[in-house]
Symmetry: C2
Subunit: 459 residues, 2 copies
Amino acid sequence: MSGRSPTSDDLVSELRRKIRPDLVVTTPEILENFRADRSGLRSDSAPIVVVFAESSSDVVEVMMSATAHRVPVVVRGTGTGVAGASFASAGELVLSLERMNRILEINEEEAYAIVEPGVINGDLNDVLRDRGFWFAPDPASRAISSIGGNIATNAGGLMCAKYGVTREAVLGLTVVLADGSMIETGRRTMKGVTGLDLTALVTGSEGTLGVIVSACVRIRRAVPGGVSTVNAYFPSARDAANACLAVSSAGLTPMVMEIMDDQCLAAVHAYLELDSPPSGSASLLLQFDGESSTANAASANDILRRHGGRPETATDEAHAEELLRIRRSVHPAMARLGTTLIEDVCVPRTRLADMFDRISEIQRQRGIVIPTVAHAGDGNLHPNFISETDHIPEEIWDAAQELFSAALEFGGTLTGEHGVGTLKKRWLRQELGDTQVELQRRIKAAFDPLNILNPGKVF
Amino acid sequence: MSGRSPTSDDLVSELRRKIRPDLVVTTPEILENFRADRSGLRSDSAPIVVVFAESSSDVVEVMMSATAHRVPVVVRGTGTGVAGASFASAGELVLSLERMNRILEINEEEAYAIVEPGVINGDLNDVLRDRGFWFAPDPASRAISSIGGNIATNAGGLMCAKYGVTREAVLGLTVVLADGSMIETGRRTMKGVTGLDLTALVTGSEGTLGVIVSACVRIRRAVPGGVSTVNAYFPSARDAANACLAVSSAGLTPMVMEIMDDQCLAAVHAYLELDSPPSGSASLLLQFDGESSTANAASANDILRRHGGRPETATDEAHAEELLRIRRSVHPAMARLGTTLIEDVCVPRTRLADMFDRISEIQRQRGIVIPTVAHAGDGNLHPNFISETDHIPEEIWDAAQELFSAALEFGGTLTGEHGVGTLKKRWLRQELGDTQVELQRRIKAAFDPLNILNPGKVF
């Protein structure tokens, strides 16, 4: 079997003595699944072993053995990451947390839930909905992504401008460190400043600092009032972006504000076998919640019209759901077009229109198709670089480089919500600078002196 | 002069060559001011020198010299900290940032401001108000505390349950490291996940990791609609705490929810020379903002009445301001009672009533006066331990120890918003555990290998 060596044989035998043996898997067909995540990247070879941990004590045992044998560990939730942080290759151990998927406590009075890392975001929300609560982090992958993965990437989603990113929803974490010791970061209370904020530091650390074995997350009471959904067509994504700025400047805070450019919109309609949208149109989807949602949607309609949009308010819930379904179908629609590199730059909102223009230029000059969707409320764009080969070719990377440079030039960032993983590590210094990268490496070493946690990712 | 030595003479001469000499102060009467902050603690001796930096390049020079001479640096804003993190003693250099007090940019469309660390919280809010914006972090000290200090302590305040703590308002920081190198953490965009979240890590680090020389902070558009203010008397703080839980459970989110126990309320009324409040009463102050503020206040009134309260809605702005003034006068009123140790435990909201009871017990058993005020929305209590001596006597520390143990027993934390400083470092391990404290020390060393940034504080 590829990747096996005396060390790895010893490790596997040791793990099978310490952990229920059927959780320690070396079946080649299963190992194959862990060579990729949803980044479009794939490792050259399979890992040694996958451990399907069922408890924090399994995780402790794995980390103690990994430390003893100096074997790198790739922590993985449901493998839906799109930055290439959660796949493994020869010589590595995959620590899968997907079976640690119990909701341990829901405390309505304190407005928190304690969950294991493998709980699916949508599953928690299903349980909470019945109790009149919800969990705000809302990545587009919420039906399939785990809360542990959401935390490990500090996931964003559709509602960040109004309800914050995942970091704002994490109160405390139980983390197993590289050597198998365990810490409790943060707290269950609303506030707390005892020591350094390791909860925030581990959030978004992409498996490089420790293994999250449980999380205390903030839950919110359902917002009273209905939701009003508006869809508008615009002559261009630039016009839609400018309309969004006007909506924000009017003091309106939609919970959702999503732009699809013409290519993206057309591709999704084709994928869903819907009537084609008006030719060449971009779309803007707005959702308002709260007691003033209807009035706010009406105000927004006026603004959109003044900015060249043709808005239409959803007549009922089925209509609203259909509009949202179009937005949520971007990923599968893109996958049908070819191999997709999903990018994730974030720019100041006032530069969103410029960024759409820059993407058009890159398309024109390089002859690449780049349908783009954006969380307009926070300036976060997902350009989808499409290629017809089965891997991402070098000219796509060159185009992506141009995109990143533009994002930084506009005062933005390489990654709004997906993370660095392997996909963007070559650009890390361009954004953070050498001094900060060296400092971040020293912090990583403070957690993981042997560099066994996701080595080669991020840094 | 106390604290002078060949090293310190060299340091001072060097600084006077590198920085405008009048900014490098060794006048004994001025140095005296830096032996204390507002914690009630005072160092044994004066620092070597105070540098009143006027620019980030002054800060760089100070840190390079401090590194070269291995001299500890205490970074200080306006010195309003209450945990003893910002005072200095013999052999130390004070780096005062109070003159770095310029607002560098206010960007309304992007909803951020860039400020130097010495900008007073209230001053920024005054400027923002004219533009229809505000800065949410609202410590009770906002008229005198600096934004740099707010960030260094991750300050809370009266509105955290609704609008978050300081961390949620910080987008990015420019930080000078111990060796004088400079990094830019975070971003100006709404989202971003490139690398580890050093913005959050530096926030709340109490001067132990680096020197904040500018901050990009999130500002908010003024909330449309008015503010409704309700004051209610209750037979006890326990009753008031239970009423608060009922208000939250009804789905109401006041922006302010403050409880004063009977002793605190009586002391403030005496201090302000107001008619005495009803004998033995605790009070609850609620403020609702937003378009439904009046309706929400009315709903809250009903709930308070059902829980034994006698609520009264402020009739006009002057009345509301008077009610707030009573709350904001707690600190000076306490100072008049004697030497005050202001405590800062935070507990799950459902344990707030129990914590009030425990404080009563401590008072009874130990014969100590402990008037208490609480941010009820987030379970954060400020018991004020009063003593008649000019320093805090050992029996007060013993009582505080009992308080901390109770907070931890109830699932809470040592400090909700004031920080650890010197005041609580002896209890750090009790909350974080040895493993986490050692890890935090290694992180501190990754930033500051010579341990010259606020040594002896927090850790």
